[in-house]
């Protein structure tokens, strides 16, 4: 490919010749939900989880409750959901983390 196919642009009096710009995908938007919307993602198990008095489940619920929002990309989140599953609560951890954030779920 000859240099004639380089792209010429101008910055003031400066002539810039470069190869085609690489296509760029926009940076992903943060995946944050409100705390209430996060609990809603537990589905039918929500009430049982919130009422669970076991220390480990209480710790997970407290940890989520004191936050102003839940970051679904937080690396600690899967471990927290695993604690709920280990306590016998049937939740779909993968769906809770991966489902797109609806506008109504925004913090």
């Amino acid at each position: 490919m000859s240099t004639e196919q380089m792209i010429e642009t101008r910055i003031g009096g400066l002539v810039v010749r470069h190869w085609p710009l690489a296509e760029q995908s926009p940076l992903p938007a943060p995946r944050h939900t409100s705390v209430g919307a996060f609990f809603d993602r537990f589905g039918p198990a929500k009430w049982a989880i919130l009422a669970d008095a076991s220390p480990q489940v209480r710790a997970v619920v407290q940890d989520a409750s004191v936050r102003s929002y839940i970051d679904l990309d937080n690396a600690d989140l899967p471990a927290g959901l695993a604690i709920l599953q280990a306590a016998g609560h049937e939740i779909d951890a993968e769906a809770i983390v991966d489902a797109p954030v609806a506008f109504s779920e925004s913090p």
Partner: protein, 227 residues
Amino acid sequence: MAQRRRNYRAYLMATASLDELNGGNSLGALVWQSGRIVRQWEAVVSPLDGEVYRRKTATGSGATDPSIDTTNYRAASYNRVTSQANQWAGGAPTVTTNNTKASGTTLSTVPGFTAGERKLVLSLTGRGALLFAMLRWSASGAPASVLRTELVVDDRTIFDANQSLGSANSAYWCPVGTVIAITGADPRTALPNRVEFRKSAALYVTSNVAQGLGQVLFETMYEGYES
């Protein structure tokens, strides 16, 4: 009184250069001419680019314009860079990830080229500064090779280095500027340097074997002036 003043001025003219009469500032610099005797540290104006240069070697004359003569003259009205080192000697700095790039830079994709071809990957013509330039080539199964990078500024080669490219890795090198290496920050931020040019700057890559696609990140600016 007037006669005495004229005599004193004639005395000064006979013993001092014009630059010295102007207090050593560059505003009184003479236009350089081939064969003109220039005192050490005297300022002259290059007729080629209109910039001011000071003679750094012993008083003498020459036939090479100061804008080209880096041996005898130092640029006074701008920062003339004569040598540049590879600013990134480490591993992959991750300045491009998932088609995103270090902020503030422009990312271009250079097409593949044949063995021995001296590929022009960036050309700047005018008066300005190159603030950041980084090249990235990915082997992608290509045979191990040696990539030569040259940065030519105002007809002077200020960077000329070989970079080995293995058969299964990527190679990065950074003739101008560097990147901040913060763990977890991806892509990382380009830190500008400044290589000024008064006519042109060009970046070339040559490979000893045929190469596939590569990437060049750059950042440049125009420096306007009165014509």
